[in-house]
Structures are given as C-alpha cells and as structure tokens.
C-alpha cells in the first residue's frame, strides 16, 4: 500500500514539475510579447541636458524648490492618457509632501484639466506657453524630475501610478493614502 502511495506521489510530482514548467514557459512568452508591445511598467531615464545641476528657479519652477533638500516635480500634459490616470490618483489636490505638479496644456486650456481632477493645491502649477518644459527640453509626459539639494538632479518617465509611488520618498509613501472612490 505504501509503495502504491509513493508511486502516486511520484507521478503527481512529475506532473507538477511539467505543469509548472509549462506555466513558466507561457509567462516568459507573455513577458516577451508585453516587452515587444511596450506594455511593461519600466520607467525610462531622461537626460536633463544643460539644466542638470541647476537650481529649479532657473527653468521657471518655483524658487521655493531651490531650498528643498528633496523634492519631486511631476509634469502632466492635459491630453495624455497616463497623465489622466496619475491626475485621477491626485484628485482633490491630495499631494504628498515632497511632490509638485506642473500641468502642461499641450492643446487647449489647462483649466478644464485642473477642474476635472480638482487639482486645487498651492503646489500645482500650470506651465502656460510650455515655457518650463521648453527650457528643460522635455518633449514627453508624464515625467518626474527629482530635485536634490536645491538642484535638478535627474528625470524619468512615469508609466504608472505605481512608479510614482515608487519614486516618492519613504516618509511620503507611508503617509500618502490615495483616494478610494466611494460606491
């Protein structure tokens, strides 16, 4: 009886091994397909060019950031779909402590975007005439620029809300609770 049970366990173990192998193979293929279709949650580092290491105020950002030891500036355009997703998570001006938001009106008026997501907060700016992004040389959104020691340190794309949380300083991740829509 014990022998029969052991044989049964061996057969099941072999089946599990083969099945898990098939799953791993399928997942690897899915990863390949997603990478090919650019559906992966991977931020890309952007070059800040000559503005790297300069105080934020030199590109038109608030002078307050020049004194910030650590800060993040999120650039959202009023048209891109990812920007809308990020803005929806900041609805009502629920901004973490270290985060500034710059709305770039690439077409039309930024006011409707600000109103739609109720981005009412002193740290939400509108980049009229795209002056700030032109000085930095940004031609893509959403983008996050890190300010360290009062200077522009680095920039990256923000493909998802998860990457936004990832970039936030730990103290803010702990205290920042995204708004959960009530049914």
């Amino acid at each position: 009886m014990t022998i029969v049970l052991l044989i049964l366990v061996c057969v099941l173990g072999a089946g599990l091994f083969v099945q898990f192998g098939a799953l791993v193979e399928m997942y690897e293929q899915l990863k390949q397909v997603r990478r090919y279709l650019h559906l992966v949650d991977t931020p890309e580092t952007l070059d800040l060019g000559v503005t790297a290491g300069q105080p934020p105020s030199t590109v038109g950002l608030p002078a307050e950031l020049d004194a910030a030891a650590n800060g993040l500036v999120l650039f959202l355009s009023n048209k891109c779909e990812s920007c809308r997703t990020l803005a929806a998570n900041l609805r009502g001006g629920a901004l973490p402590e270290a985060l500034w938001v710059v709305v770039v009106p690439v077409s039309g008026d930024a006011e409707s975007f600000v109103e739609e997501f109720d981005l009412r907060h002193p740290r939400v700016l509108v980049d009229d005439g795209e002056q700030i992004v032109n000085r930095i040389g940004l031609d893509t959104t959403p983008v996050l620029i890190a300010v360290e020691g009062g200077t522009l340190a680095r920039a990256q794309t923000v493909p998802t809300v998860r990457q936004l949380y990832q970039a936030l300083p730990i103290v803010d991740k702990r205290t920042f609770v995204p708004k959960i829509p009530t049914p």
Binding site: G13, F17, F20, G21, E25, R34, D41, E81, R162
Partner: protein
C-alpha cells in the same frame, strides 16, 4: 557506511537525478527533442518513435535506479543511453551539422558535439561504480527519495512561476481596462 558503499550511493543518486531531470525536461518539450533527432538525419516517423523511446528509457531507468538499486538492468540502460548521446554528438561532428542540443529539454545555444562524446566515459564510470558497489536501500526508501526529489524540483519551479506571475500581474495593472463601449469600438475597427 563504508566509503566504497558511499561511492556507489552517490553514483546511483547522481545518475537517477540527471536522468530524471532529463526525462522530465524532454517530456515538457517533446516536439523540440524530436526535431533534434530529425536534424541528425532521421525521418519523421523514426524521429517520433526514437524521441518517445529515449524519454521512456530515461524515465524507466530513473525508476529502476531508485526502486531497484541492486538490479543491473537500470545501469545497463544508462550505459546504452549514454552511448546513444555520444553517438548523436559524433554524428553531428561527422556530418558537420549544427544541431541545437535540447539537453534536459532546455532551450539554449548549446550544440551537439564534443561535449556529448567527452561525457561518455563519465556516464560509464558512474554506472560502473554503482554496479561495483550497488546501494542497498529498499524500494520504499528509493521511491520516497524520488517523491521528495520531484516535489522539491516542483517547488523550485513554483518559485520561478510565482515570481513571474507577480511581475506580470504588476504590469497588467498598468493597462487601462477598456469600457464596454470602447471594447465594441475596438472590435468594429479591428
């Protein structure tokens, strides 16, 4: 346990482990192994039978090595299989054919060739040592060991599967769900 007995046990366990993994690996991708045999010059029917035969032989030899440790025939099967692997390498070398080696069923850049030929003495040495100092465990102990080994190997694969599934789930969340009317639009326009 005397050192000589230990040598026999180690040789037998290594042979069973390597052949068992090889059989399971080939079982996961039987089509690819069939292709290897076809590339060596066999016809479709022969390749199919040969591929199935090798997988069955490896599985049977593994079971024999663990459940009947003192029997000579599992080691004889190992010796014949090893000669076959070396022969495949020799054929690839002689015909200057570049054949992907689906060793253990794995995908990769490895090619059939000298590697398989050089491994023949190692296979035969391990089989010879196990034959000279046959282990004395019972069939029950051997099968329990095989079951534990298979479950451990499955657990190792589950770790990889779990990590991949978490990563894929994270990436899935970035894709905006389409509203029903958008889905209908996508179907109409595609």
């Amino acid at each position: 346990m005397a050192p000589a007995d230990l040598i026999g046990v180690v040789a037998q366990v290594v042979l069973a482990g390597v052949l068992g993994l090889a059989a399971l690996g080939k079982l996961s991708r039987p089509g690819e192994f069939r292709q290897v045999i076809r590339r060596l010059g066999a016809g479709p029917a022969v390749a199919g039978v040969a591929a199935g035969g090798v997988i069955v032989a490896e599985a049977v030899a593994t079971c024999g090595l663990v459940a009947a440790p003192s029997a000579w025939w599992p080691r004889a099967v190992v010796a014949v299989l090893a000669a076959g692997f070396a022969g495949a390498g020799a054929v690839a070398l002689a015909t200057r054919t570049s054949v992907a080696c689906r060793c253990f069923g794995a995908a990769g850049n490895a090619r059939l060739g000298w590697h398989q030929v050089w491994l023949l003495p190692a296979w035969w040495a391990a089989a010879g040592l196990a034959q000279a100092y046959p282990p004395g465990w019972s069939a029950r102990t051997g099968l329990a060991g095989l079951a534990a080994g298979l479950l451990l190997a499955s657990g190792w694969r589950l770790r990889r599967e779990w990590a991949l599934s978490r990563e894929l789930r994270g990436d899935r969340l970035i894709v905006r769900e389409l509203a029903p009317d958008e889905e209908a639009h996508a179907e109409v326009t595609s």
